[in-house]
Point group: C2
Chain length 230, copies 2
């Protein structure tokens, strides 16, 4: 643990930050949100394979950590020290970074799809609302169940809870929302809920992106039924 060792580790950390593609990834993660390797590849303008190598190196230096979730792997900054170091470097670089540009475009941040269920601010609020209304309960660490009251409520929305339960996939569970860093509803039930919302015209799927556009009707219903302001 001599001083040369310490310098060497410092060099390694700085080198990990220095590569332009990695710099861009780190800056993108500076808002604290987690992102997939594919997204970060696009941000950095490199191929997925290259991005993977870069992320491995960042992880090796304990600059980012990875949270696997299904077939996705979400990357985020390791801790506050890392963010502080990068911000200190930004200051030295004299780059007058905008006070705060929400790095995730706002429409995406507020409501989008995650695979086949809802994600974003709306989804997280809805997730919390469903627990508050006692439609959902926790069956274990991360798996949910639907209460009797929930069964009735979902039925009114044409969400077939029994079918979801019978599906050959996980029924209902929390899924870490990468922009909000809190869980939203996933699994067969989450998928059925999104399907119902689209069917009923509460929201419209953007064809080009994962964004969800909330309709006026949807806005009203969500507020009245679930206490969710969009």
């Amino acid at each position: 643990m001599d001083v040369g060792d310490a310098d060497a580790r410092l060099s390694a950390v700085a080198a990990a930050i220095a590569e332009p593609a990695r710099t861009q990834m780190l800056c993108r993660l500076l808002d604290g949100c987690a992102r997939t390797s594919t997204e970060l590849a696009i941000v950095a303008g490199v191929s997925p394979s290259t991005a993977s190598v870069h992320l491995a190196r960042l992880a090796g230096q304990k600059l980012v950590k990875v949270t696997p979730q299904g077939r996705h792997r979400y990357y985020s900054l390791c801790d506050a020290n890392v963010a502080a170091a990068i911000e200190a470097l930004i200051l030295v670089a004299g780059a007058p970074r905008q006070p705060f540009e929400p790095a995730t475009p706002d429409p995406l941040r507020s409501a989008r799809t995650c695979y086949d269920h809802m994600a974003g601010r709306l989804a997280v609020a809805l997730h919390d609302g469903l627990f508050e209304l006692r439609w959902l309960s926790r069956s274990n660490e991360n798996d949910y169940d639907v209460t009797r009251k929930g069964v009735e409520g979902f039925a009114e929305l044409d969400v077939d809870v029994a079918a979801a339960r019978a599906a050959r996939r996980r029924f209902a569970c929390g899924c870490l929302d990468w922009s909000e860093r809190r869980p939203h509803l996933a699994g067969a039930l989450g998928a059925a809920l999104l399907a119902s919302a689209l069917r009923r015209g509460w929201m419209i799927r953007d064809l080009d992106s994962r964004a969800l556009a909330i309709t006026r009707k949807g806005r009203r219903v969500l507020r009245e039924r679930f206490g969710v302001e969009v």
Copy 2:
């Protein structure tokens, strides 16, 4: 001034820090003292030419600044932001740096030669003492003159002020002390003063280094005459 630009500058700064030789130089400068390129070359374990290239790059990224002084060029960190950034990186690297090792070995720091005059804590204190006693006065920005009282005082020490004034070199001036970051006395007068001090046995020159060993007699005289505690 777009965001890609800012990232590129960040990369460049991090890359400048990342190279092991440069990392060592920067860490060495972390105590705020200025050092010559030769010293930093030794610290980094590279040849003078290589060190020069490295320092040029650090200067290019505004990480260090250079203060020419005679044929020496003193390098130091550019500002507090740079030190902060490096310390933030050290934290991330998880290197438990010693609370504070005085990077300059203490004997050297307290008294040494700088070319042909005294440097270090002693020299800086002596410099201030000479002004307090009104032996010296400022003739301009960085050049000094000897007062009538000073002429008498120096004469008592066998320091020939007239000869120093006649010498074909700068008479008396401030010279930035690289460990104290405040000026000590240089020029022909500074050289004559050191010569006298050595002659009178106040201090002894170390043959292998620039260190000066203060004798007991020297310690007493310096305290009594100049109010300088060594």
